[in-house]
């Protein structure tokens, strides 16, 4: 299934939904804003439900499943690297100590996006078959 009318219609509903939701947030203090927010959320839910229901019509794609747990692990390690940097800033006032913590944290985060996540995403890559 390539681009078609259903996709176009659901994208229109998505755009209307996100606009209405944002308008609702902007004017949340009054009644109209609350109604707009609810309408927006309903439209967004409707659009995504429809997107999901037509997804299987796309046909076979050149991509096998990517292990979710491995991907999650990669993301967790990535965030851990960032936390190391933040903690380093607050644990020591010395520039040298903060520099070491920053480099260590960055290395951990880079390890995640350069090694862990590509390995996870390519684990069942179609070109390996």
């Amino acid at each position: 299934m390539a681009a078609n009318k259903t996709q176009g219609q659901q994208l229109t509903i998505f755009m209307a939904g996100i606009t209405s939701a944002c308008a609702g947030i902007a004017y949340l203090s009054n009644g109209t804003g609350k109604v707009a927010l609810v309408v927006g959320i309903v439209l967004l839910a409707l659009a995504f439900w429809k997107f999901y229901s037509i997804k299987s019509l796309e046909g076979k794609i050149a991509l096998e499943s990517q292990p979710p747990l491995q991907k999650l692990m990669g993301l967790v390690v990535n965030i851990v690297g960032w936390l190391v940097v933040l903690l380093g800033i607050h644990l020591t006032p010395s520039v040298g100590g903060r520099m070491v913590a920053a480099i260590l944290g960055l290395t951990i985060s880079l390890f995640s996006i350069v090694i862990m996540l590509p390995t996870a995403c390519n684990k069942n890559a179609i070109w390996k078959a």
């Binding site: 046909g59 794609i61 903060r98 590509p118």
Partner: protein, 548 residues
């Protein structure tokens, strides 16, 4: 004794009265002088004869008078001076914003030229529609998150309506997280200054969005591309941009924990390019490589683009637009430090030049040919890298930064393709991601401490100074920014696009991909009268001719 006291008191009284008279008389004299000047100004009859030399046009008569009965006063002149300053800055910021907007055309040509002819329409259309998707998302939400708490820029009149930043108290300090004013540019943000900063920041945001389309070209479902771009324009980009430019926590690293002048990114190597490049990496990982890119043993095939002329012309358009990107980031031409725009512009062109040389010589010396597409990427790499430091470094520094970026982009393209096994048809991850991060880092190394934008940066007194000029703490601030980009920006984009993959599906079908995306996704070929070569021949020729 009494007499002497009386004399002293009398003298003091006389002096104060005379000074008061002078003080009272001064404005009157000035006003009289102004009115004399107005009387001497060219009369209407003189102006009716025409002014070929330009000496009669633009005189004291053109200064608006507040009270016609009082005539021209010093207050009128001062008001006009203030209006002129803001007017110059508005004009400067808007025109440079228009230049940045034109970069979309450059991106479209570069990305489409580097793709195969069967996907030309689809790639051009992604670059076209990303403008609308991003702009709309930014208007309804993104601008608020980014700039909703960014009041205080004197160059654009203060931007006082943007005064609400959501903050978090942590470790005894207050950290900005996201802005809250400006949705739909309604209410108090219906303001002349806010409109100018909206336009300028919007075109920057759109630049980041269009980077992703290059890395995901030739296999990205148009529906998912549209949704992903709206979400990135509304949330991902504005969030980091707030932390760096909108008064957020990265910009407060100097005031809160004494790290240099806080995270410094003059025009967006990090905010725009690294955000775009890392988002491109996240999306490319989820979407996977194109059919035929990798062999079973993991080796890669070069898939040659269809139009190198479009690529190189596109690079020139981008280089032209960069004169809006970097010098425009002073947000004015008439305020403290803004005359550095010349230096910023020269740094920009120099880094582009040395970046081109870096890639061009690397390819020629090590691979045997002066590869055109990599030379183009070298130009862009130099420009990307100098974007953050352009306002803080000397010409020597900018030349070194550009040269390193030119070589770095060649190494990174090889690394991303051969070691990470990520398919990036246009090299967007390397050009914008890798070199964007290098640009952010280079501020912490090469900032020479001579810039002076009003005596402080991010609320810290003094000039931005890097490690090589004596301030190691600035490098730490830059490293914190880099890690935030790698960890937070990447992760947010990865999660959003992972969810989109589950709900909508990121990739077109095998049949669509093999046929080319133009007909199935767009309904029209990019070049309907071209004769297509069979795919295997193209691949064979590509393998024989490839130098990269």
């Amino acid at each position: 004794m009494k007499l002497s006291r009386l004399i002293v008191c009398m003298c003091a009284l006389c002096m104060s009265l005379s000074l008061g008279a002078v003080a009272y008389a001064a404005p009157s004299a000035a006003t009289a002088e102004l009115q004399q000047g107005a009387a001497k100004a060219p009369a209407v009859a003189d102006l009716q004869k025409g002014d070929p030399g330009g000496s009669l046009t633009g005189t004291i008569n053109d200064v608006p008078v507040g009270d016609s009965k009082a005539g021209l006063t010093l207050v009128d002149v001062a008001n006009q001076v203030g209006q002129n300053k803001i007017g110059i800055n508005f004009t400067w910021t808007l025109i440079t914003g228009f230049l940045v907007m034109f970069m979309q055309a450059g991106f479209a040509m570069v990305e489409s030229g580097l793709c195969r002819v069967k996907n030309a329409n689809h790639t051009y259309m992604m670059n076209f529609m990303v403008y609308a998707c991003g702009l709309f998302a930014y208007w309804i939400l993104g601008f608020t998150i980014q700039m909703g708490g960014a009041a205080g820029n004197g160059n654009l009149g203060g931007l006082q309506p943007l005064m609400s930043e959501h903050t978090l108290s942590l470790f005894g300090r207050t950290w900005g997280l996201f802005g809250q004013n400006g949705m739909f540019l309604a209410g108090h943000t219906y303001d002349v200054g806010v409109m100018v900063i909206f336009l300028f920041q919007m075109v920057f945001m759109d630049t980041a969005l269009t980077i992703v389309t290059g890395a995901c070209a030739e296999r990205w479902k148009f529906l998912t591309f549209s949704i992903s771009s709206v979400i990135m324009g509304a949330i991902t980009y504005p969030l980091f941009a707030n932390w760096a430019w909108g008064g957020g926590w990265l910009s407060q690293l100097g005031t809160n924990v004494g790290l240099g002048k806080g995270y410094c990114d003059f025009a967006g190597s990090g905010v725009v390019h690294a955000v775009g490049g890392l988002s491109a990496l996240a999306c490319a990982l989820i979407i996977g490589p194109r059919i035929g890119k990798f062999n079973r043993d993991g080796s890669s095939n070069a898939i040659i683009g269809h139009d190198i002329s479009a690529v190189l012309i596109g690079c020139f358009i981008l280089a032209f637009g960069w004169f809006g990107f970097n010098p425009g980031s002073t947000l004015g031409a008439s305020a403290a430090g803004c005359l550095r725009i010349g230096s910023v512009a020269v740094n920009t062109m120099l880094a582009g030049c040395t970046g081109t040389f870096g890639a061009f010589l690397y390819m020629w010396a090590l691979k045997g040919k002066p590869d055109a597409s990599m030379s183009g990427n070298g130009l862009l790499a130099g420009l990307v890298a100098i974007t953050a430091p352009s306002g803080f470094v000397s010409t020597t520094g900018s030349a070194i930064i550009g040269l390193v970026a030119g070589v770095l982009v060649c190494l990174s393209v090889t690394f991303v393709e051969n070691y990470m096994k990520v398919d990036d048809p246009v090299g967007a991850i390397s050009v914008h991601g890798t070199c964007g991060l290098w640009g952010v880092l280079s501020v912490g190394l090469f900032a020479d401490g001579t810039s002076n934008y009003g005596g402080s940066w991010n609320g810290v007194t003094g000039s931005v100074t890097g490690l090589f000029y004596g301030d190691a703490s600035q490098l730490v601030a830059q490293l914190v920014g880099i890690t935030t980009l790698v960890a937070i920006v990447f992760s947010i984009t990865f999660v959003i696009n992972w969810i989109l993959d589950i709900l909508v599906g990121q990739r077109v079908s095998i049949a669509t991909e093999v046929a080319g995306l133009d007909i199935p996704e767009m309904g029209q070929l990019g070049y309907p009268e071209f004769v297509f070569k069979p795919e295997p021949e193209v691949l064979l020729a590509a393998n024989q001719m490839a130098v990269a």
